[in-house]
Amino acid sequence: MIPVLGIGRTFYHHAPGPCRLVEGIESGAEDIASLPNGLAFFSSGMDFPVGNFKPNSVVGRIYTFDFNHPNEAPKELKIEGLDRMNPHGLSLWQNEEGEVFLFVVNHYPDGEESVNKFLYDAETNSLHLKMRVSSKEHSHIETLNDLVVVGENRFYYTNFLSKQLPESIQKFGRIAWGSIGYFDGRKTSLVHENLLLPNGINISPDSKYLYVSHTGNTEILVFDRLSDGALVLKNNIQIGTMADNLDVDPVTGSVWTGAHPDMFGIVAYLEDPTRHKSASQVLKINMQDGDMVNMTEVFADDGSFISGTASAVHYNSKMLVGTIFTNLMYCEMN
């Protein structure tokens, strides 16, 4: 329990190079995904759990950030085919024709949960809705958090919480009713159950291993993927902190994560991010064949500079770090 609670832990600040908060982003960047050309997409303005914030106090948006032009402000994408977004985790898929699809977890005020698939149009700077996988039409979709796309219409997703029990009872009672689901293009199924707050999910560059942040146990789970989409637990990597979203460097295969090292801090931040700070941390975990080689703390802060880090993406010695509800940070790495 000690690593989960973060009791007695010290949060020293350090950064890999000059870092700055990106102007214009004040409602968070919960999840970030990037293309091989350096164009990153991120979700902002999340209201989670739904109803956490006053109605209309935050507006869900998707932005792009170009690592090749880091001084340009993030661009908001126009959403076609959906009236309102409450975006959470997201994942990119590029088909053989070069078309880019963005899959986004969306929470609705009436309790509906869905994964929306959008086609990205760079010319009009917009996202066009192409597919919805909704909890109203599919079973095994509970309170979603993140997803990773593994095929044209196939993806794994994390059910952070079950809808069968109140959120607080699951979180603080440590009731492991979270799970991993799989959508094979037609139907959903549960491929791993009894997890305590499964969060970020991603896949190794060779598509052999699935990584899942098991937040409640301060570990990252590594699964072998079987051909039918089933998962076999291969490894659990103790990281001693609550990793949020996971990003995988397509070149090195390293896992990058924004993490919450202080449980009390993050609980207060989730309640009111304008009043409470939470310590921030970015970890890089070097992997080989599904095993951890080593782990480096790339960035740390006690929350005074940046609070509630949830995602970290690396591109060409540059790093973008998002938070759940507040800022987005850009760093150049020396």
Binding site: I2, P3, I7, G8, R9, T10, Y12, H13, H14, A15, P16, G17, P18, C19, G240, T241, P261, Q281, L283, N294, M295, T296, E297, V298, A300, F305, M333, N334
Partner: protein, 352 residues
Amino acid sequence: MGHLKLFSLMTIAVLVLFTKICKFTYRLGLHKTIYQHRPESCRLLNTPGFTRSYASTQNGTVFISIAGNGDNGTIYTMELLANIPGFKEIPINWRDHDGKAFDPHGLSVWTDSYNGETFLFVISGSSPGNVVDIFRWEAGCLEHSRRIQNDPSFHAMQDLAAVGKDTFFFTNNLYVPQFRLEYTLDLHWGSVGYFDGTEGRVVADRLFMPTGIAFSFLHGLLYVTHFGLQELLTFRVEEDAQISLIQTFPLYSSMMSVDLDEASSLLHTAGHPLMYKALKTMGDPENHSSPSQVLRVNINQHGLLTTITETLVDLGRDLSGSQAAVSRHERLLVGGYTRKAMLCETEIKRDF
């Protein structure tokens, strides 16, 4: 009534014991999780032995005390800002003194602003350290000029900070001196002393194992790493070398050294983030490694400590048991209980 008194005394004793055990457990760092990181450009250098202490001139000539392999230690130098910094053993001209028992520990450099002469102050002694040797640094050689010993105020000295040609502040790390006894039993028997050229005296006592010490000529302040309580103490130096505590700055790690770079208003300190591992390393450095940590503390215009940055953590694989760190012009050198030192280029980012 007798039973009540006995019960009360036993309750107090149990509570005191419980408090001591809790404090000891906390000091050992059993609750901590640490993560490796370092500046982007670091490399490892082979050292002639285990590093004990560094002292640098402002232009980057670093004096290094190195523990010998069973023999007495030696003084080396490194030109920190050279293109290819390397270790160089320094010859010592002992003149009329006997240098056979010389075993250097804490170091301090002082430069006479009138004639530019540089002096190296060295704590020496097999049981660290009850002797201070003062050398004049001349043409790549140390000329012995004075030996101070048998002063009643010297008790297991750890480090010193020269403030004049033969005056200096020093830390008495222990009193008994039995490291494990004083550390385990939470005995605050350490002190800071001042030697005025003739005799020494204690100027701050009841400290829990003070280690590194540095003096700011700019602000008239003394910085001391308070190893046992994992903090950094700032003392104002009054007339007649009396000192008064003006700031207690938490470090949350058991730090060994203080390096003050007045030109950039930065203080670097190296030490042990996990004492339960460091204790094993201290006892048997050849067979046990422990993590290293360097912290950088910014100093404001009044000399007070403001913000802290963790510059480096090594889990002990490359750099074990860091004992000392020195930094000049964004170049950092760290050494410890290993025959390696780490040399890093560090970009100082005050506002990150």
